[in-house]
Symmetry: C2
Subunit: 307 residues, 2 copies
């Protein structure tokens, strides 16, 4: 199984340009491709990143400001034009369904695939999706309109992994014994020798998790929801010198994003949602590094691995 990865499609705020793509990213985890936000031009960015459209079964929209979803109607239309039949789930605040429906109404389009809208309205952490491998939670953020972050966690699997090399050395161990070994039990041979479990198995794989927090003011309640995540994307629309502007617009600075990452003891921080007024992304990184060392300023079409 591939390591989970996050591919940035766009990491700028508000006005798209040839270089500045609005928010969109793909999380690939346990064989799933989750699209998170979908600013204008996302379908072109997906193509550049060589993401297969047909693998996208779940789309998460944080809020209904244009730089986070104006590319969605185009993507959904393209799915239709390409003959998609597999239905898709869209997790978004109230309003998105009305917006999408009115487009298809006026183009007289009868979609060939279904859209399952999961309307988000919780003001607390809430599990919004689960399957056998992954759980997704909405994280309440603080912005000018109702906005969620998202927490993606692999499902706990506490079973130990078999160490086949060692197991094959002991002819007494049969396939029927494997289940007990996975559960951590020691093995007793026919002549009464106890072989400790740790000699026959490996520790279960670590559960990996990713948290997406954009757009948000500097908001301490986020911390408890994202504790110890392996990767945190936290918006940093501004630098510290524009902190007042951040407060007035419901955004954060790089300095504040780093503070949240440090307090939540996350493994790695990615910055993004940059204001176009700062062309040098390294400035964001430099500012955050003073508080939290393992930080990168995310860049479009770059992939970051969870490990």
């Amino acid at each position: 199984m591939k390591k989970p990865s996050l591919t940035i499609l766009g990491c700028h705020s508000s006005i798209p340009t040839n270089k500045f793509h609005p928010t969109a990213q793909i999380l690939e985890m346990k064989g799933f491709s989750f699209l998170i936000d979908c600013g204008e031009g996302t379908q072109v960015q997906l193509k550049k990143a060589k993401i297969k459209f047909n693998k996208i079964m779940h789309i998460f929209i944080s809020h209904l400001h244009g730089d986070h979803f104006f590319g969605l109607i185009g993507l959904l239309s393209t799915f239709h034009l390409l003959g998609r039949e597999k239905s898709i789930s869209i997790y978004a605040p109230k309003g998105l369904k009305e917006i999408i429906d009115v487009h298809f109404k006026w183009s007289y389009t009868k979609l060939k695939y279904g859209i399952d809208y999961i309307e988000l309205s919780s003001k607390k952490l809430e599990r919004i999706m689960k399957n056998e491998k992954i759980e997704v939670f909405s994280i309440p953020l603080k912005h000018r309109i109702y906005t969620n972050g998202f927490l993606f966690r692999e499902k706990p699997n506490n079973k130990r992994k078999l160490n086949m090399e060692e197991i094959q050395k002991i002819p007494d161990i049969k396939i029927v014994d494997y289940q007990n070994l996975k559960l951590g039990k020691d093995f007793k041979t026919h002549d009464g020798i106890i072989i400790p479990n740790w000699k026959l198995t490996f520790d279960p794989p670590k559960i990996l998790s990713y948290a997406f927090c954009s757009d948000t003011s500097f908001y301490l309640p986020i911390i408890e929801h994202i504790k110890y995540v392996d990767l945190l994307y936290h918006e940093s629309t501004f630098l510290k010198k524009e902190e007042n502007r951040a407060i007035n617009t419901g955004h954060s600075t790089a300095n504040q994003a780093a503070y949240i990452a440090k307090k939540a003891k996350v493994k790695k921080l990615l910055l993004g949602h940059y204001s176009n007024r700062f062309p040098n992304l390294k400035e964001f990184e430099k500012e955050a590094k003073k508080i939290f060392l393992n930080v990168e300023a995310s860049e479009p079409l770059k992939t970051y691995y969870l490990e």
Copy 2:
């Protein structure tokens, strides 16, 4: 005054890619900048073409298929973010206002500028805009949903232009005489000599006109509306070998576009709205040239002059 020009922002159909931009173009005529259609990514193309956003006062939307207007909501939002105060007029079929309104409702946006919607519903040629310099007409096209082309014509100005070099040689001619000269009258000096008007004036400037016809089936009634235009953009989604596909989808072939151009005796034909299945645009040009010589396959970010 600059010569009227048409700048192509996008000339492909349906699915946008990094190279294939959906329909959008800017007609610059008599100091006005008219935006015609607005597929996804148009605001980025406008920036690349160095078109000043603030000069756009009129937007014409042919029909409500996504590749002709999915970039509009992003552009209108950007106008707002840039602090635009000048109102804008949008000429479009019924439905567009509802689509735009629902976006701004859910983002709780109160626009700083006004939008004046002119809802198009005529099934005949109809004048939809006029000012002191230009008239615009909707041209009924034949497509899967209600669709208009647009005809842009400079206003007739039959007044002759003064030939100041000649006029200054004749001291008898005073400023009060200029009006009569512009109207084509001869001049009589104080000693009774008649100076013919053509010696003192130039012919009035030619009236230039541009017709945009996309999307449409091969539709002969277009011809009478676009007779003698200086530039015709007529869609050619397909080549002749895919004529059946053109019929089934409500589009035209390059061959058919050329036939329309020839019958309408236009000065120059531009092809566009190409299907992505034909990567070599010269094939369209080659096919059309067999019927109509002065033809070009339009290309993004290229400017074509009316003369």
